[in-house]
């Protein structure tokens, strides 16, 4: 058999349609490449500037006394961040789970809709506005404290945790609830001992995502807790503590390059924490959903 003397080749209108198609495909590839390269540029430039200034002292010491911007580390801010986010989680996790239980298991549909809407609206409020709110109700009268910062962070976390929990509660098969109720187990025991434990994995990963989100929050903390540097590490939530994000912000403003390199190092540490925890939580959540067959 001989090769055909001609090949099929699109001409005219079809050719134009194919060209448009290829052009759009190329644009899509380009956009995806652009997004990934922006991520790479950000990560690499934070990494290359930050990793160099990292040493043991950065994690284990506080700002050196006297005028010595190079000396010491940011232990005070790491401790402060842990306290701020820790207390916020202690407030928001139980509240969020309770709200989710009410909305998905107990509430009449109209009240559930109101609660959901309130959560969504709270979620859409700019975090700086939440900072102003907590300032007026707490800081104006009692002064700055880490606790005030934690409350602001908890307000940000609450809708995230409540909605994530609600979603996994809905994924728990109703056969589990029915089996428990059919055995004569009361409603609250069914909820507390059957439904919530089934959903626990999802609740915890949702909480982890919320933690990753608020660990990077700066704006609501600006007026609520201390903005600056410290030569002592303090963990008392009633004192105004610093956070890693506040250190990044205040050091980035300093003319001294030693402070700037500390800002980069702090940014690098925070970025690694946020990216790894949110990635891990997302992977866990995807696995969990598959398990519950969502």
């Amino acid at each position: 058999m001989s090769e055909p003397a001609f090949t099929l080749k699109a001409t005219g209108r079809l050719r134009r349609r194919q060209l448009v198609n290829q052009g759009m495909g190329a644009l899509a590839v380009g956009a995806a490449l652009l997004a990934v390269s922006v991520l790479a540029i950000v990560v690499i430039s934070v990494g290359s500037r930050g990793a160099g200034s990292l040493n043991l002292a950065f994690f284990t010491q506080n700002q050196a006394q006297g005028f010595n911007p190079k000396g010491g580390g940011v232990l005070f801010a790491i401790v402060g961040s842990l306290v701020l986010v820790g207390i916020a989680t202690l407030i928001a996790l139980p509240l969020g789970v309770l709200v989710a239980i009410y909305v998905s298991e107990l509430a009449p549909s109209r009240l559930a809709r109101i609660a959901r809407m309130a959560l969504d609206i709270t979620n859409g409020i700019p975090t700086i506005v939440i900072g102003i709110f907590v300032f007026t109700i707490l800081v104006a009268a009692h002064g700055q404290s880490a606790l005030a910062g934690s409350i602001a962070l908890a307000i940000i976390m609450l809708p995230l945790i409540a909605r994530a929990t609600e979603e996994v509660l809905l994924l728990v098969p109703s056969s589990q609830r029915e089996a428990s109720l059919a055995l004569g187990v009361s409603r609250w025991r069914t909820t507390v001992q059957v439904v919530v434990p089934s959903a626990l994995g999802g609740i915890l990963t949702g909480t982890t995502l919320a933690i990753a989100r608020v660990a990077g929050e700066t704006a609501p903390l600006l007026f609520l807790t201390y903005l600056g540097t410290s030569s002592t590490a303090d963990a008392n939530p009633l004192h105004p503590l610093q956070s890693l994000t506040l250190v990044i912000f205040s050091y980035s403003d300093q003319a001294d390059p030693a402070y700037q390199s500390k800002a980069w190092a702090a940014a690098f540490v925070l970025m690694c924490f946020v990216l790894f925890t949110s990635l891990a939580a997302k992977l866990a959540l995807a696995r969990y959903r598959k398990k519950l067959g969502g």
Partner: protein
């Protein structure tokens, strides 16, 4: 018959015990209280902001919104140039981000090979997870110099006949702020859009292809129309995020009052002004004016969010599977749709 009924009941009664009798109402009351607290906080935020801005409202009234002055020395305050700065940066960011995000979503659902999809999707979502203060730091020290030395001279030499691309170049200003906001908004819109595309029913998709449509024609004729309300909602939510962003914008916009045509010029936004001045506020009137700004910000974000929810509503009539997918996509961004 009667007897056995009574017996069963008493057995149940005994096994349940006192804890169970109070347990059910207690759970209901406790969870209701938690939900009520969540609703109350929202109400309190509105009330406290209104109270805090009372002083400035009495002094300037609604004219605050239309006055350009922000003069700390003479205690004259107005929000117009901040509202303009907020609108310009957020709108420009959305205008740049939306087509990019849709293109990324198309690549992820239509073109990329399977193994690449998950990886790339995760990378795009990581971009959304980067804290804004880090983007701000990067914006001042890395993006800023690039904008000043490369991007702005280039824009000026090619498009300088337009008034938008004139004036002295600067590492900070509207352009840098817009680019930072774009970086923040793209992943939000992209991941929601991607989720929407994957939920368009394969029959429609394959039908279009079987009729001889090219892939792009299928996208334009089937995917985009099917996903339009969802995309609009995602864009609205991304816009809300851009409007409310304080830190990153504060660090790169230059913090200047005044309305300028050129994107090279310094400006300021509502959120950035609050973040920048609240701590150092020197008079009660200035503090109150800043809270007034926060109230305006709250009103804008409420309008945008409720608008987005109304846009999503029609989707609720669609099959449950799709609704869940959309909710998930929104939640992954820390946003959610009822």
């Amino acid at each position: 018959m009667e007897n056995s009924h009574v017996n069963t009941k008493s057995v149940l009664e005994r096994t349940r015990g006192r804890l169970d009798r109070i347990g059910d109402p207690a759970l209901k009351v406790i969870t209701f209280a938690a939900a009520a607290l969540a609703v109350t906080v929202l109400g309190l935020i509105a009330i406290e902001l209104a109270r805090g801005s009372r002083l400035a409202f009495h002094r300037f009234g609604l004219g605050f919104v239309t006055s350009q002055t922000w003069d700390v020395v003479h205690n004259q305050f107005g929000a117009l140039s901040l509202i303009a700065g907020t609108a310009v940066t957020a709108v420009l960011a959305i205008v740049i981000a939306t087509p990019l995000a849709i293109a990324i979503a198309l690549f992820l659902t239509e073109l990329a090979p399977k193994p690449v999809r998950a990886l790339l999707g995760a990378l795009v979502e990581m971009l959304a997870a980067i804290p804004s203060v880090i983007l701000g730091l990067w914006g001042i020290l890395v993006l800023g110099p690039f904008v000043q030395n490369q991007l702005e001279p280039f824009l000026n030499s090619t498009l300088g006949f337009l008034p938008f691309f004139r004036g002295p170049t600067s590492p900070t200003g509207i352009l840098t702020a817009t680019l930072i906001l774009t970086i923040m908004v793209v992943p939000i819109v992209a991941s929601v859009t991607r989720e929407l595309f994957t939920t368009v029913s394969p029959e429609l998709r394959e039908g279009a292809l079987a009729l001889g449509a090219t892939r792009w024609e299928m996208v334009r004729g089937v995917l985009l129309p099917a996903a339009r309300p969802g995309i609009l909602a995602a864009v609205a939510l991304g816009f809300g995020r851009a409007v409310g962003e304080a830190m990153a914008v504060l660090m790169v916009i230059g913090g200047q009052i005044g309305i300028h045509l050129s994107v090279f010029s310094h400006s300021d936004t509502l959120a950035a002004r609050i973040a920048g001045q609240y701590n150092g506020s020197s008079t009660n009137l200035q503090t109150s004016s800043l809270v007034y700004l926060a109230t305006i910000l709250l009103v804008i974000s409420l309008a945008v969010n409720i608008g987005a929810q109304l846009l999503i509503k029609p989707i609720d009539r669609r099959p449950r599977r799709r609704r869940i997918a959309l909710d998930r996509a929104l939640e992954a961004q820390g946003l959610s749709a009822d």
